[in-house]
Symmetry: D2
Subunit: 357 residues, 4 copies
């Protein structure tokens, strides 16, 4: 192979990017998506346990695209970057972010350190004390369909969880329009197994999770308060919801099936409401009436596809919302946020059709 894949870039304006914790699935997905991005260069990639190893020795899909080794994380080196992604476990980013912001480096955290505004809720669900509570208040929740303008000006963005992205985009038009009973929302969600991460684990072996399906965390999942917080902000009143996640025997994909009740049945044309809500969004696709979006229709893509149904024309509303958990649910949405924060075209590096078949 001719290893001279060269991006045509302008060395004066190109932005330097760092990735902390690049050996997990969100990390390698950032690398895959950023490699051909014409306005950024990946200049620093860290992994404590693999320092010194070539990135493409671990991820051969990147041979010819990423000519870097993993480094031990160094705040000084990270501070040379224009923007740093944290693709680390919960609780890591919060210990490094203050120094980076101080140095003028912008930060996107793909973990949960800056998602929950209520520090007590955060401490309860993540079982630790927060290291920089003041920055939690400053951090912008990085869902462009909700907070585009704030993201543009942000120093620190909390990239949303995968389930919250699918659920929130699915419910936003109904909540915005105050159409539904906020006390009766059920989110039955199903995720591909890459959402469980790239950790050695018996329960996510192919022999254990293949050819099977199950619910998990029915008693309480960390994404429940995240969704509830966002819907409460949108609606202006406290929203609770029943949230049940399930594990799909596929690698990529989230499907949210959302059940809620219209307060006045038949009052609104929901199809039109959804189409209007998202008509200017590059990454939310309202499917034709009667559709059943498949997770594969967004595989590898930053798109969220949504269909809204009213079975039997009653008050029951059923919304179907699909994303690729590693793209719109993680690395793709993070790059969408990066583009906004760096004043680039919001869709750069993200306009590829999904993979089918």
């Amino acid at each position: 192979m001719n290893h001279e894949f060269e991006k045509v870039t302008d060395k004066n304006t190109i932005k330097k990017i760092g990735i902390v914790g690049a050996t997990g699935y969100t990390g390698v997905e950032l690398l895959r998506l950023l490699a051909p991005h014409s306005d950024v260069e990946i200049s620093y990639v860290t992994s404590r346990s693999n320092a010194g190893m070539r990135v493409d020795a671990m991820f051969p899909n990147l041979r010819g695209f990423i000519d870097l080794e993993f480094s031990d994380p160094s705040t000084d080196a990270l501070a040379q970057c224009d923007l740093v992604f944290f693709a680390t476990p919960n609780g890591v980013a919060m210990n490094h972010v203050p120094a980076l912001l101080e140095a003028g480096t912008k930060v996107i955290d793909l973990a949960a350190d800056f998602r929950i505004k209520d520090l007590d809720v955060w401490a309860k669900f993540y079982s630790m004390e927060h290291a920089c509570p003041n920055l939690v208040a400053e951090a912008v929740y990085g869902m462009p369909e909700l907070n585009r303008d704030q993201i543009k000006g942000a120093r620190i963005v909390a990239n949303p969880g995968c389930y919250p992205t699918a659920v929130t985009l699915g419910l936003k038009p109904l909540v915005d329009a105050s159409l539904i009973d906020l006390d009766n929302i059920i989110a039955d969600t199903k995720s591909g197994i890459s959402g469980a991460g790239r950790q050695a684990n018996v329960s996510t072996l192919l022999s254990e999770a293949g050819e099977s399906f199950k619910a998990y965390a029915v008693q309480g999942h960390r994404h429940q308060p995240e969704i509830a917080q966002t819907l409460s902000l949108l609606s202006g009143s406290k929203v609770d919801l029943t949230f049940v996640p399930h594990l799909l025997p596929i690698i990529r994909g989230i499907h949210a099936t959302l059940y809620t009740r219209e307060i006045e049945a038949g009052k609104t044309d929901l199809q039109t409401l959804y189409e209007n809500t998202y008509k200017d969004e590059p990454f939310v696709d309202v499917m034709p009436a009667g559709s059943h979006p498949e997770t594969r229709s967004v595989k590898t893509s930053n798109m969220c596809r949504i269909a809204v149904h009213q079975p039997e024309a009653g008050s029951q509303i059923v919304v179907l919302s699909v994303i690729d958990n590693l793209v719109k649910g993680a690395a793709g949405q993070a790059i969408q946020n990066m583009n906004l924060m760096l004043d680039l075209d919001e869709t750069m590096g993200l306009m590829q059709p999904a993979l089918l078949p």
Copy 2:
């Protein structure tokens, strides 16, 4: 191979069994489960399009177990059997059943011809007129946990649908005890793809349905009125429910996630209620509190495993119910019914642990 697999059977008391339409998945599953059954012999297996072909040429797993060819269906030959299974498309059994009952042969229909008592509902959902409406009234709905005694005396049994089995067993304790709001039941169900049958079809190709997940028939599915009928009979009042099926990229397994509201929150210990309801049932297993049953825990087995949850100790109840759609959801439950109808031990041929991994 020594092709002399011989069951130890008593030629005087052994029952003769016929299977109409044995080339589909419920048909071959009947053959797999009945082959080692010590008190019956499969004496007649029909397939119009494959008449003359050896059964084990189509299904090599049966080599050494089934020494038969497919025959053209003949009512005379079927009438020589003690009991005939119809593993045929909807609308076939109803044309043959009257003559067989006349001849003294018992019948179990694995399709939907005899499941719905309301002939108008049936005609609407199955798009045809019924050929023998009087036998619909006579037919017993073959769910032993509900109708064991009537099944024992039945000439004609309507074997339940796969989804209705998982959903009904999951909700029965709550409905029996009049604990829940019957106007607010949601069944979010997921089925392995063998439920779509063994027909040439683009949408169920591995390349189409693999590595993907979707809902279907959100506007209305045939199993909705079947479930509603059973729950209405159990409760004594009209029950509607929201029923949304999804397609899993696995071969076998159904997972029903059931959402309902307790009328008086916290009134009843649901775990004890479920355990008491099913304590004498051979094929319903109430899992320990807090469990999340996996579909693989029942793969190849006639068991239904159920867990009941109350997240956050509120009024919301979440029930998880799993079956193998081809066993408890079809052929296994049919054999359970056969055992009852032929006065055999109800569990004969069905007591194998599920396959894991």
Copy 3:
């Protein structure tokens, strides 16, 4: 969704592309890869059975990328294109190619009509007479690593088969260097199921082909004479080989395991030979010594990754070669050929990292 995805293109130099038979997997893969290609526009897409249907109604991954309907194939309309791809069943292209070449339109056939130079062999393996034998002689076999210069000047290119691509690239260095016993070559090959196409078929259902593995066509497969022809041309003497294909329960990917014997054991450093052979190739990647390339390392990519082994340092050589059957094995290689034929950069539209995970 904002449906205004606009490629930045130069309307004066952009090339018009037609695709005949775009409803199969090679067709939709051409659409997926060409949609973002900056120097071509897809102007005409045909499907006899789906004429009038929007392309993105069949393939929702293309929503926002392809604003076209399927048309009935018309030679006049196709002749307006600069280049036409035939993604049709074998035997279709040969009936349309003469008129298109006459009109000055270039053609790439992704089926087998122009691959085999010996018309008797072709007739035997494809069970029909050839419609334009003279063009078979003219057609260039479209493997750039073998025939780059001829492809640049070609009017008609025969795009190679998927297995032949993986096998030929795997063996070329050894054959070129006259190192191996040409009478003792075994190609044990395994293909993902998308290679079987998008036809309704029982044997490729998820329920049939999932969780299973088998060989097929051991008595003779159409790709055997295609590979033998190419290796014979490369070596200058008649090469036969034993070719056994197998069906993998995955959607995309081919793995060829190639066994041959070195004439003089230990004479040559095979790793260096392979690296030198492919050092300037953009789409052949010789992996480090001792590697075992995974099919997923090329999924969605036009790369072929190869490793060469000599177990126990004897004369036995084992070559491992992987491609994505729909990309380097079909649509990607076709676009590589298109780029060459239209005097564009050979790698345009094809420089994306493979998908992992």
Copy 4:
């Protein structure tokens, strides 16, 4: 569930069975297959790390079938058993076997401690010194098709490896008949991922091994010397072979594709040779001429299905051999050996059709 699944057994003659290391896949498969076996009872099941835990809490498929807890391994308790299975990692059994044999307890080792007669080869491939070399000589290689009579009288049986079972049964007729060139045997083998065991491991996660395929250990695999030893004993001369294993993205199943050359092409009717060799074997099924056995045709079953081909009627022979790696490749063959050692019917507990679909 009524937890009173009771086997009809004769308490005077029933044999007591112990299983050491029952938390791996061969262990749970022994439990699944032995639970309904009418002439044995599982009386002692060990797991050092899970002592005190109910067996069915780890493996819910066994609820109602196995009413035991895991125990810490105790030689005294094991010595109360008639026969003990070691389903442990390599190197464990050899430390416990001498004391058990002393106590009159028979042993079947499902690991590799007693498979290789040449202690130097064993030490090289398993990287340790043997703890009881004299018992290696005594141990019988537990492949009933080769060594039935010795197994019947054995105190200690070395259960064969999974690949060696498929390869040896596939080649035995040719080697016995001295038909093939023993210097030119290639075994291209593919295994389902349960063969890698139930250990936490990144490389066998569904996200890593799903939707992919690769070779591994091309430079040398432990099963190569095991196969070479058996074929050398069968042929009376030293046999080497090229052995390349691959990892399939399925849970269960091995497919061996075996390539060898007939010394005198066309001398023998291979189909008849194979059928005659195995005509009295209960668990080797020679498929009709021209067949391509699928791994699913033996899934869950103790059967090995074989097809023999001569492509193009030349000297090249291609043999296809499939087993379930956890049944005939491990626990099923071990039970077949147990039946022989305990003077029971060889097929007891093993006569179930394979699972399809």
